[in-house]
């Protein structure tokens, strides 16, 4: 995490904030802060995964049957899209280190497109579930054929968690879109605090990798259950 070469001018660096002594200290502080924030995110999603683990172990067969209504191809495509976006973010961070502005802009741009595509596909999936009355509530299970024989109560629990977890993940994707778009504009305008210093780009990258990682767990847990 060494800072870029000309960041060592004492206090003259435009990207240096007043509370820090030098760019090294600032960048290390930023990265420690970001990782600490990601710890809180792990605890946040971890709680939901605990709930998921407990309930799935309690209602294995019903959850297996209920999950059959999920659209595996769409989920799979979404997984690939997110993996691509993670790759482009990694390339963007590397390009930021080398100060290759065009590459950064292109790669962040592709990431944004991927994020929107992910949300679009997720939206289609949600629509399908709503149409099939698979959203929890009094109307749940009005079309029993989509429950594939699962007990409606336990299936409702499953879809409660499905919408809760993928919904919170989608919120994180939306936040990611906002942050990446903001970063893209900064790069586009040649703002010194991102072009001279790659750490802001790296921090956004870390966040996006985390969002990707959550989905890497969500996809097999929700879509790819083995028959118990």
């Amino acid at each position: 995490m060494a800072a870029i070469a000309d960041a060592h001018g004492h206090g003259h660096d435009e990207a240096l904030h007043h509370q820090f002594e030098d760019m090294d200290q600032q960048n290390e502080a930023y990265l420690v802060g970001m990782w600490t924030f990601l710890v809180t995110e792990v605890m946040f999603f971890g709680t939901l995964f605990i709930i998921y683990t407990l309930y799935r172990s309690m209602y294995q067969m019903d959850w297996y049957l209920a999950h059959e209504a999920l659209n595996i191809p769409m989920g799979g495509v979404n997984t690939i899209i997110l993996l691509i976006s993670s790759f482009t973010v990694a390339v963007a961070v590397r390009s930021a280190q080398r100060r290759e502005r065009n590459l950064v802009l292109w790669n962040l741009g592709i990431t944004l497109v991927c994020a929107f595509a992910f949300l679009g596909i997720k939206g289609v999936e949600y629509m399908e579930k709503f149409q099939h009355n698979l959203y929890p509530g009094p109307e749940f299970g009005r079309h029993p054929e989509y429950l594939h024989g699962a007990a409606p109560n336990f299936a409702q629990l499953y879809y409660g968690l499905y919408f809760g977890m993928t919904g919170l993940h989608a919120v994180h994707v939306i936040v990611g879109i906002i942050v990446i778009a903001y970063l893209w504009v900064k790069w586009f305008l040649n703002a010194k605090n991102v072009t001279l210093d790659y750490v802001p780009t790296e921090m956004v990258g870390l966040y996006w990798h985390f969002v990707d990682l959550v989905w890497i767990f969500l996809f097999p847990l929700m879509y790819l259950m083995p028959k118990p």
Partner: protein, 585 residues
Amino acid sequence: MSSIPIEKGLENSSPHQREPANYLTVDWSLKSWLTTGDHKRIGIMYLISISFFFLLGGISAGLIRYELTSPAGRVLESETYNKIFSAHGILMIFTFLVVAIPAVFGNFLLPLMIGARDLAFPRLNLMSWYLYMIGGTLILGGMINGGVDSGWTFYVPYSSMYANSNIALVIVGIFFGGFSSITTGINFIVTTHKMRAPGMTWFRLPLFVWAMYATSVVIILGTPVVAITLLLIVFERVFQLPIFSPELGGDPVLFQHLFWFYSHPAVYIMILPAFGIQSELIANFARKRIFGYHFVAFSTLAIAGLGFLVWGHHMFISSQSMYQGIVFSLISFLVAVPSAVKIFNWTATLYKGNIRLTSPMIYALSFIGLFTVGGLTGLFLGSLGTNVHLTNTYFIVAHFHYVMVGGSLTAFLGALHYWWPKMTGRLYNESLAKWNAVLVFVGFNLTFFPQFVMGWMGMPRRYHYYYFAPEYQPYHLMSTAGASVLALGLIIPGFYLLKSLANGPKASANPWGAHGLEWETASPPVTTNFEQTPIVMDEVYDFDPVLEHEQAQARKALEPTGYEGYEPGALAEPKKDESDLGGKS
């Protein structure tokens, strides 16, 4: 001491010299406050905000106490009573105790104590205040518009399915408050790791910084869990996502597990900062290095770690397995070990110390007694057998008030009196403050000791009426009388502290003769905290009695500056000063 800044401090307090602008006087506009990144200003903003919420929480406590003076109730409907005690719990915990010491004193002091110019992320710090205010506003909004009657614990399925009150809005408020805590925690962790001044090694950190660090670790690991758990109640109420619904096969006890996974460590979020303050006060007013510095520092971390493994002791009667109960009980007893290490080490620090009974020290000494009672009664509750008898009685109410009020609030008051001259640059009426500290101690014990007795006898908590058992009335009367005394003891400081702002004598850089970087800069400090980055060359709490005596003589020869005299009788000086300066201004 790295001695250059001391001389600077003395220069600044000289009346003949025009003072440089400090962080308070540098800009008077409201906008400069609302957009500030200065950790000291944000600390002051927090102090004002939490005082407001504390007042509201205190008023609800007063209503509860008044209501319980009669076995048949006085003025409130049962439903209103439920809303009032819920409001008391929610306001006191989520908007006062969890926030109070870290956000006010941690914010103000952490950078000063480690010799930094500011926290690592000043804008994030300001954002945490705004998040707190949004959260507080939503909580108040929910309480005014419908109220909450589930208690601060929000147990499902009552809170998620049956309660008709405005639980969703209040929970969203708590969620915002949680984010405010998380941002503060991240800021403290990064600052402690990356912003220490040259020479400020980990084992030269004041114990308050250790406490803040451990607290921040608990905050970032625990708060997200309760945030999402409470949010799931909102999901159930608003979006019908049935996560904990027992009708559909969900597990309400799971909610309790997740809730206490945060809410037990939250107790340590409230008490660890108090331990930190306690270490500062004891060391500086016994004028001795804290006994077993390393043990106290590591016991802080041990409590933070073990604190995550004991949540089940809130659920001994919630259908949890007996074997689970045994393990949780055992680990609960283990937490008592590092807590006792602290108590013993503070006591050992007092031994042969040059003790000065100033007002912060009186709070610190009462903390030792009150926290010991609170902690030991916690062992009664952590034992499986006695827990069944005592749970959901006033015994438990008394226990956690001894820890939270007798511990955290007492330490908060001690800290307020100790660092008030640093924060505001003014000295308050010390003799009045001392009497007030005694008043708080008496009022507190009168309020909560009777609750131990009636809880042991069987008075259940959260009951509106007790006409079925009027023999509890004398205890309730004692408790209410004590609450009135305690209320007085909490109102009086408001007056003399505010009065000191108007016409209190000016404080020198180090009015207590204390040891620590925060005392080496001016009172109040300049915006950048130090004229130049301090270099730390001495150990923490490195008191040298001989040198101190000489310094005191030298300082006395220069001018009378306040409380720094530690010879008997010297404490009468401030009063004299006050009347002098009062006449002039």
